[in-house]
Symmetry: C2
Subunit: 234 residues, 2 copies
Amino acid sequence: MTLTACTFDVFGTVVDWRGSIVAEGDAVWRARGVDVDWPAFADAWRGLYQPAMERVRSGNTDFVKLDVLHRENLEHVLKDFGVTGLSEADKAELNKVWHRLQPWPDSVAGLTRLKQKYIIAPLSNGNISLIVNMAKAGGLPWDVVLGAEVAGQYKPHPDAYLNSAKALDLPPDQCMLIAAHNEDLAAAQQQGFKTAFVARPTEHGSSQSVDLEAKYEFDYIATDFNDLASQVGC
Amino acid sequence: MTLTACTFDVFGTVVDWRGSIVAEGDAVWRARGVDVDWPAFADAWRGLYQPAMERVRSGNTDFVKLDVLHRENLEHVLKDFGVTGLSEADKAELNKVWHRLQPWPDSVAGLTRLKQKYIIAPLSNGNISLIVNMAKAGGLPWDVVLGAEVAGQYKPHPDAYLNSAKALDLPPDQCMLIAAHNEDLAAAQQQGFKTAFVARPTEHGSSQSVDLEAKYEFDYIATDFNDLASQVGC
């Protein structure tokens, strides 16, 4: 079927979550009392991401927005890193660093090209407000915000992909997931999505060992969003 | 509170539903067997809109997308106008005329100005795919698609407004509804939204008698979207 919608993983694929958190930590939060090893802090915070969502995916808890899971996880990480004395307002503001993640250098240009021919939408586990605030800050030109909050389920649960396609009234094979993560793409492919792998070899820092290349057969393998735009005729 | 998000009624406020349906009817559908009085046909189709949504708002039926209600209503209108012989595919395509409604002349320019300072989002009873396809066709630069499908309820039910504000994680008074309809604005104001009335005096044709002016006290009264943009500092 004809490709109609390009849907995107966001954390790591569109934006540099680790680099952005480390940069804000060093520039803002160290002086406000979070004097930690920021790369390690970011990794620890992100490390609690999958277990938190798994409580929802498994059916053990009702769907809650990622902001809420991030906030609960922040409490654990602050404790583990021995950070005390932050006010509730400080914690709320720090938690919103996920709304302020910066795009990779090619993201805005590539999305702008893809938008000329396709519907472009985040298919992220991030909640609507997180994705909207990030887009306003970083200039990401989404047509519509899809993803976990609209679908009512977190990736890689099948419903996250299928309900996103349904929201567009498209069969899955008219949708493509673009991601830097092999397992996300494999899950989308399983539900009938087309797939494009874009490597982000420094998502986890300079010594990254995962997702350096495509492990499965995807429809496209691209070096960045501009390369992808060229490959799909934009 | 500071205004953060401008949310918009769409049918009649952003796009000219009646003029668009009449134009497509004359240009396309008359030759395909729908040889009717197109202004009357459009009015009759739209006339079934509120009763259909009321079945959802009253709790008598579960939420279904507006595309589905439009399709059911189309069946009635075709029968009332004595149109026979359309295939299922024809009917599906005609029903999607609501995805192809054209913006008023000031809509894209005004939205583009408002987007520089505010989150701009449809808060329409139209479903996500309808609003996305309309935006792609007409160049409407939404930041995010809110409205009935995301909120799970049709306007003017309170949940349609409140759940849209919640999706942005904003208190209602940081959101403004812009509409050409007094009752929609009154319902939003009741839930704490700021309000802006923009008259669309030919929405219902040249002899329109309703919504020619603001009936209640709204925060802004504007002649069009460009005027509104100027009034709110864009």
